[in-house]
């Protein structure tokens, strides 16, 4: 295999992953999605590191990725705990609840227009009825007919 091409391709893919993670982190508002996007950026770096490790025939890059995985695990634990706590306090995973930390002269972001919730989504968790209700004969209610 062409080692240079391999390095080039992996670095590009790593860069793309990093960029996509960056976009997601900046754009999305769901705390967990933001966290996953941060992990995606880490993945991009890992891909590049493994490529360099192979190119230089050196274990160092792989070691670093190994440590990154461990740190990602630690980060996930702490992050999850924090997110859970924030969720308990605001009742929502929306990051916009936590704008208190902004600078004093900054405007808080308020949503100008909220997309209306799709009716299908709204009705979604309902269970379908179990079947067609049978017709009831009123006479049947008064006395049980014999044979």
């Amino acid at each position: 295999m062409n080692e240079t091409a391999l390095l080039y391709n992996y670095l590009v893919i790593g860069g793309v992953l990093f960029a996509l993670g960056l976009i997601g982190f900046v754009v999305r508002r769901n705390m967990i999605v933001m966290f996953l996007c941060a992990e995606m950026m880490l993945q991009g770096v890992s891909v590049s590191l493994v490529a360099w490790s192979r190119f230089h025939d050196d274990w160092g890059g792989q070691m670093l990725v190994l440590f990154m995985i461990a740190i990602a695990a630690a980060e996930a634990g702490i992050g999850l705990a924090l997110i859970l706590m924030l969720f308990h306090q605001s009742g929502s995973l929306d990051m916009a609840f936590w704008q208190d930390l902004r600078e004093g002269d900054q405007q808080a972001i308020v949503d100008k227009e909220v997309p209306e919730v799709d009716e299908r989504d709204r009705a979604w968790p309902q269970l379908t009825p179990a079947g067609i209700q049978p017709e009831v004969d009123p006479d049947e209610q008064l006395h049980r007919s014999k044979i």
Binding site: M1, E3, T4, A5, L6, L7, N9, Y10, L11, V12, I13, G15, V16, L17, A19, L20, G21, L22, I23, G24, V26, R28, R29, N30, I32, V33, L36, M40, Q43, V47, S53, R54, W59, Q62, M63, I69, A72, A73, A74, E75, A76, G77, I78, L80, A81, L84, F87, H88, Q89, S92, L93, D94, M95, A96, F97, D100, A108, D111, V114, W124
Partner: protein, 261 residues
């Protein structure tokens, strides 16, 4: 700032390459997908995204014979496509699943490089533990999987700004790597990729040269574990009876469980 003249100098060359168009198309598709348009716009965005992914993949260099090239292409598409789908999916559960798909692609890329242990460890740790835990939380917090804040971004400028920034990152990577494209191919496979005793060598290296780091990482994990438990316990105790009403609070959806205090 040195990259600006570099970019400008190669602009001419860039505009004529499919790479540039791939990036532009990709940015357009992400813009369509992220800015909360109608279903038709999203469909167009998905189509454009697929085209741009294919274009970008096609501009990658040829790594070897057709079979390994094919495997590489598939893995690259899974990785990048999964990542793109993850950041654009509206339901966070789908985000987590697409991220897991992207992780599987990454693991495949690691295996393709001969980094067996890392490939499998990525699946075990990331896909197996982290993402599952997140799915867990997502499902508890948002059982219906739809919330208005997953459909809109911070403001009108957030999406274009992020896209321009990301495009700049990719362009920077591509231009700075341009030297690699023209360099002569190296074909001798490195020793670390062909080793028959992969695990033994990796372990030996890990504990011979990085012993202190291992200890530090172990300690870090332990502290993180204790910290996570402490945070959750603390949060449970100091949970206010009624959450204070923030003036800056954005719109809430009455359908959310516990959305309005």
């Amino acid at each position: 700032m040195t990259c600006v003249p570099l970019l400008l100098g190669q602009m001419d060359q860039l505009v004529r390459s499919p790479l540039c168009w791939g990036i532009v198309l990709g940015a357009t598709s992400l813009w369509l997908l992220l800015s909360g348009g109608s279903e038709t716009l999203r469909g167009i965005g998905k189509l454009l995204g697929a085209i741009s992914l294919l274009m970008l993949t096609a501009t990658l260099m040829i790594v070897g014979d057709w079979s390994s090239q094919l495997v590489f292409w598939v893995l690259a598409l899974i990785t990048t496509g999964g990542a793109a789908a993850a950041i654009t999916a509206r339901s966070p559960v789908y985000t987590a699943i697409w991220f897991a798909v992207s992780l599987l692609g990454t693991a495949g890329l690691f295996l393709f490089q001969g980094a067996q242990f890392l490939g499998v460890a990525t699946v075990v740790v990331y896909a197996g533990a982290i993402v599952v835990t997140f799915l867990f939380v997502l499902m508890l917090a948002q059982p219906e999987g739809h919330a208005p804040y997953d459909r809109i971004s911070w403001s009108t400028f957030a999406v274009p700004t992020a896209l321009v920034g990301a495009a700049a990152v990719i362009a920077l990577v591509l231009t700075s790597l341009d030297g690699l494209r023209s360099s002569e191919p190296l074909t001798s496979p490195p020793q670390i990729a062909t080793s028959q005793q992969h695990m033994a060598e990796l372990g030996g290296h890990l504990f011979a040269y990085h012993l202190v780091s291992i200890e530090v990482i172990g300690t870090l994990l332990m502290v993180a574990l204790v910290g996570a438990i402490a945070i959750v316990l603390h949060g449970r105790k100091s949970r206010p009876e009624t959450a204070p009403d923030h003036p800056s609070r954005p719109t809430t959806d009455a359908g959310l469980p516990g959305g309005t205090p």
